[in-house]
Each structure stands twice: as structure tokens, then as C-alpha cells.
Symmetry: C2
Subunit: 440 residues, 2 copies
Amino acid sequence: MYDRIKGFRDFYPEEMGARRETIDTLEGTARRYGFREIGTPALERAEIWTDKSGDDIVEELYAFEDQGGRHVTMVPELTPTVARLVVAKQQALSKPIKWFSTRPFWRYEQVQQGRQREFYQTNVDIFGSSEPEADAEILAWAADALTSLGLTGEHFDFRISHRDILGGLFEEYAAETAGDAADDIDVEAGIRAVDKSEKVDRAEYLRLLENAGLTGDQAEEFASLIERNDLDAVLAHTDAERVTEAVSNLQNVLAAAEDFGAREYCTVSLDTARGLDYYTGVVFECFDSTGEVSRSIFGGGRYDDLIESYGGQPTPAVGVAPGYATLSLLCQRAGVWPDEELATEYYVLQVGDTRPTASRITRELRAAGHVVESDVAGRSFGAQMNYADSINAETVVIVGEQDLANDEVTIKDMGSGDQVTAPVDDFPGERERPSIDDFE
Amino acid sequence: MYDRIKGFRDFYPEEMGARRETIDTLEGTARRYGFREIGTPALERAEIWTDKSGDDIVEELYAFEDQGGRHVTMVPELTPTVARLVVAKQQALSKPIKWFSTRPFWRYEQVQQGRQREFYQTNVDIFGSSEPEADAEILAWAADALTSLGLTGEHFDFRISHRDILGGLFEEYAAETAGDAADDIDVEAGIRAVDKSEKVDRAEYLRLLENAGLTGDQAEEFASLIERNDLDAVLAHTDAERVTEAVSNLQNVLAAAEDFGAREYCTVSLDTARGLDYYTGVVFECFDSTGEVSRSIFGGGRYDDLIESYGGQPTPAVGVAPGYATLSLLCQRAGVWPDEELATEYYVLQVGDTRPTASRITRELRAAGHVVESDVAGRSFGAQMNYADSINAETVVIVGEQDLANDEVTIKDMGSGDQVTAPVDDFPGERERPSIDDFE
């Protein structure tokens, strides 16, 4: 027997059931917000990623040449595909466009806990609105989805910031710096330094800031300001327009989030930068409040330039993409991960030549919406009872030749072990969910 | 803007909604039968397919070498993966194993109507039972799923046979034939000839049978017998054990299908062979009864040797795998394809600075389970009304500054255009689905 490929997981029914329940909760919440499902392909042209230089994703692509000579890749992220869909029907689509989808993505990464090479995300995005309400609706959806899973503010925290606060502060340092040295300030390197600040010690963090072009004093001042996580302190430090506008936008998003019920889950966190360079406005990351799951659970934010960079019309956009590998770690840690158990309402057990009646009962119980199994393997009474137990059947309906001679069936409650007889012609009857209580 | 890859489709919300409804119906039916969902990877080792010779699938693989030097392929069919899952937990799994999953597969084929290179199927299989009830349960699930979509016996037909009827008849011709000529009878070629009989004229069909080793008289006799689709005629023709056992098994499956409610959709059709060579017992194909969709909608059957051929323990198996490309053609032809329209219960329209109240109403309506949108783009009254119309909002709740001054909101029914005012503090209140009727 061959083996499975590293980083690609199998899901057996018990675990898949818990996973499906989680996905259904996120998707159901998205539907109630008016996000609409789209379906997208597994493959896109590899050039979409390889034509852009400097992107880490290129190193991680499952790219190859197909039998028609096309350079293709298994899709590592949804945005370019969504950009294509938006552009193809730009005129026909009502704005804002609110889309979601749950699907796998593939990246050749180091496999570790919470990170596989095949991973599922639910992408939720709004295209065509630059208003703070759009950012806040994304936050509200994420908070609503997590609380619908049973999580509370005790369990998770959205650390939120705005990319232009960091960007604007760096710009200002560049403006302060005389002559050629100004050109040495590398804003993106600075943002990456902040992004790493929690993972390195303070000396290393300051060194990274200096590498990005700040002087030692500037680095110290900047680090201290960011650590305070205080928007008023930022406004007191500078009146640079880019920074003040960013602070104002972030405050507006938080005010809308208050109306939308999500403010209580948000903490201003100025070192939240998101590693990816494409974010342009508000950014946020969801963390385990206890820190027990140390990695970010998921993140999101505003990316107003990205659709255009893939050849689309300029289209403001904001979104979030929870992945199930890390989300399940959080849910398990918080004790709200669904039970990994099969659930079965009825097992209809056949003894002797009773298939016509057992089948009639099975069909009627299924038509009422229940999960019902019956024998398809010619098993004995004992083997059927063991099987019913293995699938956690709540009620077993025993259809035996002897009972049938008396126009009866036996109803057994598997929890208590109690059983009663019921008239076969009156079972299940019009009852929504017949149990032994109906016949005692 | 780059283009999408040939044979890979995008699904926008309207079409995706209809598709999702269809998938949900098939999966919901499978759940009620006690089939359990599994999750499986997009990639497997290419050797699984390339080590077997003579399989058409090899020509159609999206295979490549990954960055770790593994020869991998995007999965073209589910069985090898399922075999791996069964074998890995052979001891722990209760038999019979009843699994389903909906996922994409990939084959580099000629693109045509109802056939893309990326295609979705719902695989439904039973492992570990060789009893006719297992075959019948697969038929019953398929019939139940199709009728749950709104299809009836007027729309579809399961053409059913047993592979050993053809195989046994060919074997008998070989036994009748003296000497070396017997070795020239190629059973698989004969079955492939039958499989093609509907696509070629009779002379060509007879020629294919002769190529498979039959004499002219034998070919004529065989073709006439198969055309009658009459199991009694087959039994009158031969008492070869392989054939009589196959007929008996098919009759037992049909008798079980009668009890399970699926017999009425089945027609004995001896030329149904299924192209794939791995079937070992009952085989069936679903066709459009009117023939308007000329291709088989989907097929299934028993494949008792396949799990073992992939390195597993000998495990009897029977299954079916409806694909959505052809199924949607049938549903459209029959007029039961779901409306490709967005559905929205409420749009909460903001006029002026009313966000706190509009948000409160939006949240309460969503908490009651409704699909509700509100403004996230700072739009005018008219633009919001147009948007509400574009998403087919049934009811618009207008939250205006002037109304709010009177502690009222306006409820507008988008179907009739009628509108009424409602007390803001009493909206939505405890009502399950408030409408203008509640306030007239």
C-alpha cells in the first residue's frame, strides 16, 4: 500500500464531522451577512505569481507544465482568482461585491502543527467600498462566526492597527533625515521589522529597525511609541497627514465595529503589521487570548491596490480568511471543538425475513429527516446491535419475525437500555421523532 | 488581465447558489442514509496510476514532480484514496463502511458540454458487504437524491445489468469453440464492444464482436439475446453457472431495490457494461428518459476487486458517483434546476446618521437566521434601493432620521411596493419573520 503525501491530510468521518460543523458555522454566518458563495478553480496560470518578483509564495508553488504546455500552478491564495472574476464582470456586478468561499489552497511549506501543505480557508471579502463600515463588517463577521462556534472574548482577541501608521512614521523619519541618508530608509523593511518584534528580543528588534534606515535614537523612540499601543500618543508625536488620516480611519472603523457588535473583541495593537506587503489600510490578526496557541489564528485587512495590481480596475477591498488548521487548535484549547463522534438517530434492526417492514420503517424515518441505518450486510442480531452501538444510534427499532406475528416492533433506547413494544402499523406514524416515551 | 485555464470553470454567486442547493440535496440524502463524510487530499503519488498499464487515465493525469522530488498527481478518481483510508484503519473501522464526499477531480480530457477538466462528484460507497442489499442501498440513495431534486421516473432511468452476464456468455462461447480459437476470445474486448453498441451501427457492432473472437453466427446470436433485455431469455439460453449466478444476483438486487423504493426507476439493460474494466457485479447507468441529454448522467456498480488491487485487504465494494456537470444538464432539461437568483430576506436602509439603530435591527434580524444586508459603502437612498433590488431583497427596512424622530421605521414590501411604519422599539421584536402584514 502506497503512502499519503507529506503535508496532505485525510479526514475520517469523526474528525470530518467536527470540521464540517465548524465550516458550516462560518459559512452560515457569512450567508446571513449577505456574503454570496463563489466557486473557483484549483489551477491558475503560474505566471500570475512568477511574474511578480520577491514574493515568498513563488518558492512554495505546486507549479508544473500541463499536457497542453501551459505553465500552471495549484492556487496558493484566492486573491488573483477573485480579481479575475471581478474584472470579467466588472460592469454587471452590483457594488459592493460581497463574496465568500471555502476551499483548499496549496503551498510547499515546512509542515508543523497547524500548518499543512494543503490547507482550507473560508475567504470572506468585500470589493468596491472604501468606507470604514466595510472594514467593520469584516470584523463583525469574524467575531460573529467565532462566537457562533462557542468562543467568547475570553478566548480570542483581534489585534488591530492601520498600515499607514507605521508607514507614515517611517516616512516622517525619512523626511527628518538630511540628504542621501533619507533614501536609505526602507519602509517595507521597517514594517517587516515591526512584524517580527514579538519574535525577537528588543536589541535584535532595534537592530532590524536600524537596518531599515533609522538612527539608533529614532529606533528607540519609534519602538517605545509603538509599544504603547495608544492612538492619542501617536497623534501627540506627529501631525504628519498620512499618520493622522490612518489614525482617524482606524478610529472610524472601531466606531462602526462598536455599532456592529465587534468592538469588544478588538485591541489596538500598533505592532500588528501582517507580513504580507499588500495590505494598505486597517490590518488585524486574531490571537488566542491566553497565548496558549502562540501563532496567529488568522488575519485580514484592507488591500485597496491588489485587484489593480492583477490587472483589474482600481477596486477597494477588505477581507479575512480564517483557516481551519489553526482555528481548530483555538477551539480545542477553548474546549468548544465539536465532539468527534458519529451521530445516528435510528438503527432499524432486522431479525429473520423482515426486510419489507424494516425498509418501510427506515424509509419513513429518513423521510422525516433523520439519520437512519439498517442492515445491508446480512448480519446477525448481535452483530447488528454492535454496529448500532458503534455508530452511536440513539434508538434501535427491532423488527423481528415473532414481534411482527403480533403486529408489533420493539423500540430500544440505547442510552437507558429500556425497551417497549409498539404497534407496527403505528410506527413511526405521524410522530416527529418517536421514542420509547411514545409507547410506554 | 490573465485568462482562466481551459476546462476549469468559475462559478459566480447565482449559478453557485443553484449548484450548492443541488450538492446539499445529494449530501443531505446521503447523511440520512447514514453515509459519513470523509475529507481527502488533492494530490496522491502518481505511481498509483502510472504503475498500472493500459489505463486511459494515465494519459489524462495532471501529474508533476513536487519541490521535494515526489512524483505526484492531482487526483483523477477517488477509489485509490479511499482504498488507502480503508487499509490504514482496517481493524478499527466498523463494517460496512459507508462513506461519501463531494470534491473536485482533474483529468486532461477533451472539453465539451457536460465535461470539464475539473469536475465535481459526490462519491457514495459501501465497503465490506457483498450482499444485494448493499447494491440496492446505492440505487435507493441515487433514486432518493434525484427525486429530492424534483426529478421523477418520467425524467430518469437506471439501466442496470450484471457484468458476469456478458462475461459468462463470452466464456461459454469460448468453451464451445474448439482448440486454439477458444484462446482468441477476448472477454474484455467483447464487453467493450457491448459498451459501444449504442454508438455504432449493427454491422459495426457485429464486427467488433467478431474481433473479440466470436464467429459470425455467435455474434448474431449474442447480439439478439442481449437486445431482448430479458433475464428469462438469458436463463433459457444457458445454464452456465457464472451466468445463472449473475442473473440471480441481479434479481436479488432488484428485489431489495423494490423494498427500498428504487425498483421503479430500474430497467434491465443487458448492454449496460460501463466502460471501466474494474466493475465485478451489478452495474448501472442513469440516463435521461427522453434521451435529450444523450450522455450517461452518471454510473455506478460493484467493484469487489479494486481495493485489493490497490494493496488493501480483499473488500467487497459498491458505489456511485454523480457528477454535477451532467446532472445539471438533466435538471435543466427537466425544468427542476434551482433558480439562479440571489435571495435576500431584508435590506436595512440607512438615511442620514442612523447607523446605531440600523445596525441593531440588522443584528437582530441576522440572529433570527435571516439573510440581511445593510449599507457598508456610504450610498444614497436611491443607490441603496437599487442595490436592495439587485440582491432581490424581499423587505426593505428604512431607517431614516425623520422617522426615528417619531420613534418609527418604515417597512417596505419589495414585491407589492406597499409600505407601513412600525414602532422602532418593537422592530423586529419577537417576530420570526416580520413583514408589513405585522404592522398594518
